[in-house]
Symmetry: C2
Subunit: 187 residues, 2 copies
């Protein structure tokens, strides 16, 4: 059973991929990239520690630009991030019928609502799976600590949507938050 | 890392337990029983197929009676089921600091809201984990089919709250629905 995991190289998407592999899925790590930066390279490096196949899915620059417009007009990133994430699921859904991500229980964005999830699943005939959706931060931290070696900080180079968004809008619209990147495995 | 999984012998709580075991947790299957029926025996039988430790946690009859009152007064089971489930988490939380259940993404009840989960976690200093909360019915069905041998139907003998509730209120307040019970493992 093949499954595409939207992958940034960070601890959440890595843990989601690890869980799915343990459940017997044939996991492909997918990094979505808009051609603005080569930030996908950071995800590829991290993917090598997991020993899982890696693929870049190129998306249209228009999607990124529209997301940036939404963020600048809102003055905060939430709706723009959700817009990109939804478009990424739809794009990856053209090739893969099972798609997962590292969305956690306590995340605010990107996070699809239950009606949005069901609507995407029905419309595009995909299965959307969020293995961390029922896990709180304590649980995730203790699992990550046991499984991975990570690098954490505010300036970690990662391959999430944020990297390319920051480059395009050239303005810091994101609140300060810690980033993480997988640099090895313990298990 | 020890974790208590609220366990009925059905496919959801069995899958939740299976996932947690795969993640390296030391899983204890816990059946909550009010002393009205020996329905815990069905959970114990199922637990043997999983090869995991099983324990019955006896709860006060008052909790069951109050849940039945709520259901009879409402005319439908949702609030009463949520009440029992919350009390069960709190009771099991006296002994175990990590507690999981088989709540799915598409379940209506018993299902705690995010504020309720956080409040219980903080107040009782427990970690609540719902491994199926990010999984839809297609995903769960395909995993269950691959991992377990199950028996399904409307009259399956199970060890969920419903068994004792039905006995107490002696009236069918539950909408018709399929039950399941683990009778073997494929993996």
């Amino acid at each position: 059973m093949e499954i595409a995991v939207l992958y940034s190289g960070g601890k959440d998407s890595s843990l989601a991929a690890y869980i799915l592999k343990k459940l017997g899925y044939e996991v492909k790590l997918i990094n979505v990239n808009f051609g603005v930066l080569n930030s996908w390279e950071y995800a590829k490096e991290a993917s090598e520690h997991l020993g899982l196949e890696f693929e870049v899915v190129k998306m249209q620059r228009e999607v990124l630009d529209k997301a940036c417009e939404i963020m600048l007009s809102d003055g905060y990133p939430n709706n723009g991030l959700n817009y990109i994430h939804k478009q990424a699921l739809i794009e990856v859904g053209k090739k893969y019928k099972r798609i997962a991500d590292g969305t956690r229980r306590d995340d605010k964005v990107p996070k699809l609502s239950l009606p949005e999830i069901r609507s995407i699943e029905d419309k595009y005939n995909i299965e959307y799976i969020a293995p961390l959706r029922g896990l709180g931060y304590k649980t995730i931290n203790s699992l990550v600590e046991r499984i991975f070696i990570i690098e954490e900080g505010e300036d970690i180079k990662k391959a999430d949507y944020e990297a390319e968004i920051r480059h395009v809008i050239n303005k810091n619209i994101f609140p300060k938050h810690k980033q993480s990147r997988i640099i090895g495995m313990r298990l």
